[in-house]
Amino acid sequence: MKNAKGPVRLLQGNEAMVEGALMAGCRFFAGYPITPASEISELMSQRLPALGGTFIQMEDEIASMGAVVGASLAGVKAMTATSGPGFSLMQENIGFAAMTEVPCVVVDVMRGGMSTGLPTSPGQGDVMQARWGTHGDHPVIVLAASSVRDSFTITIQAFNLAEKYRVPVILLSDEIVAHTRESLVLPSVHEVEVVNRIKPTSPPDWYKPYEDNSRGVPPMAAFGDGYRHHVTGLVHDTHGFPTERPDEVKAFINRQFRKITHGAAEIQMTRRLLLDDAEVAVVAYGSVSRAVHRAVLRARENGIKAGLLQLITLFPFPKKAVDAVLRQCRSVLVPELNIGQISREVKRVNLTAKVVKYNRIDGLGITPDEIYGELMKL
């Protein structure tokens, strides 16, 4: 991917996400217009038909999420994209996807504030909603893109993880990432690793759609494949039929978490910058990590041993990577465009470490100067 040859394209984050999704094999998109995510819908509507895929603009985000799950049940990789208000509406059917283990990708291009908030400003206020937005204990993977290149590569990873672990993957972007234009060289399909869900090979009569195995991820048959089975949002047994038997309920819920724990090493992605000898560090994600990158380089120029741990995966929270930084550095800064949603997760990893938060909730991004200033205080 790094050495991809091919024409240089000038793309915005939203466009790069579409390119990534299509390369990952996404052939169905359902959505409802909302700033700052609308370009994803628009470009999908242009690109999908030629690939034999389908775009549909639904009547709202509840419907969009339902259609995405339906398409994936029928064996087609599917995605939707939205922003805060729409993300709230999607929660019900994201829970259905988690419960029924239907792979899909949900992009939330975060904007500022609660409710209608600040439609054209960046924000990172949906982090905890991405983790816990739908009711009940549920597994989910949450990734965050910080650049146009990320928007491309992490979208591919989002699909791969969704397919591999049979979970909805929430991909967080923000207004800055979405609308910044940067150059990107797109690789050819052959240069990219694409993962597809495992299909059953047993005779249909033997197929148990929710049977446990070593990975905790059962093979998934698509509707129409000859493996007639039942899918329900009720807690179900290994056949997919509703159950209230405590032993079956417990086994089912435990498997949902076990499959993610099993894959943690691969799922929990982070990037380290100048951390090996760092004395102070910044933990950041999304557009903010770009500003941090700059600030860290400047700090180094001025003799401060600073480093950056960029979180690509927000959940399952990459505890190990964070813990290593907390142990090594005398203090750790966590800048965010919210009142401190990830800083609390960082703190929870090691209650004795010095974790300093820096937050903006006024609709403006965080600049390298601000981070540099905060680094000087550590």
């Binding site: 038909p49 339902g66 029928a74 509707f223 129409g224 494949d225």
Partner: protein, 279 residues
């Protein structure tokens, strides 16, 4: 050749799995299930090629008993999932089963838009005029003046005429039947599934437990008689004055029109864009 009930049961029900069913004795949903199975059998479709999607409610429990590709979705959202399935695999026959609250309260927006969009789906709406599963609260189909657990003083709202709503929203095929007129219902469901485009069958069905009991019809028979007395064939209804039709409803085919449907139109866009071209 007529197929016996036992043959149909063995062919279409998941007999080894989740019986006994959840429904109250005498519930009309069982009659709808019978009609649906007979209609599917007459259509000679392969079970592997049929998807049955439902929402939440007593009616939403129907698919689990049927040996098809089945999905029990979220309350009111069956049509949204069905839309995704159909667009992903247009060769599948996709049927949804919903309750009156499911389809026209929480799912009302999805319902009218599915009709307007004219995707090739069938919606069977089991109208028992009440929220059965949650214990008899009023639904958008509860008649004015009727009693419900949330309308103990008599209902002050007015009911949707669901089939007429579907016609106005643009469905290609709309019919209404009742569980009393079961033989007719078989035919209406068959026609609806056969129809290319969005098709709707509203089925007046008895919930004697949650609706009938509070409205002077505490057993299935009194409710079936109520349907018998109030149902007027579409042709006859056309000759009656609004006064004569008061308190009655028409049964039969209310609309059957041909117009471009979503997935065929979209297929043309795909072809124009260059999909399916030999390379």
């Amino acid at each position: 050749m007529t197929v016996s009930m036992a043959q149909l049961r063995d062919k279409y029900l998941r007999h080894d799995k989740k019986f006994p069913h959840v429904w109250c004795p005498g519930c009309g949903i069982g009659i709808v299930l019978g009609s649906l199975i007979r209609a599917i059998d007459r259509l000679d479709l392969a079970k592997d090629d049929i998807v049955l999607a439902s929402g939440i409610g007593c009616s939403g429990r129907l698919p689990v008993y049927v040996d098809l590709n089945t999905v029990h979705t979220t309350h009111g959202r069956a049509l949204t999932f069905a839309t995704g399935v159909k667009l992903a695999r247009p060769e599948l026959t996709v049927i949804t089963v919903m309750g009156d609250g499911d389809a026209t309260a929480i799912g009302g927006n999805h319902f009218i838009h599915a009709a307007r969009r004219n995707l090739d789906l069938t919606a069977i709406i089991i109208n028992n005029q009440i929220y059965g599963m949650t214990g008899g609260q009023y639904s958008p189909a509860t008649p004015y003046g009727a009693y419900a657990t949330t309308a103990g003083y008599g209902h002050v709202e007015h009911a949707f005429s669901i089939a007429e709503l579907a016609v106005a929203a643009g469905a290609s095929f709309v019919a209404r039947g009742t569980v009393y007129h079961a033989a007719q219902l078989d035919g209406l469901i068959k026609k609806a599934v056969e129809k290319t485009g969005f098709s709707v069958v509203e089925v007046m069905s008895n919930c004697h437990v949650q609706f009938g009991r509070r409205n002077g019809m505490p057993d299935p028979v009194s409710m079936l008689n109520w349907f018998k007395d109030r149902a007027v064939p579409v042709g006859t209804a056309a000759d009656l004055s609004p006064g004569e039709l008061d308190g009655k409803f028409s049964i039969g085919v209310l609309a059957d029109v041909d117009k471009p449907n979503f997935h065929e139109e979209y297929r043309k866009i795909q072809e124009r864009a260059g999909a399916f071209r030999e390379t």
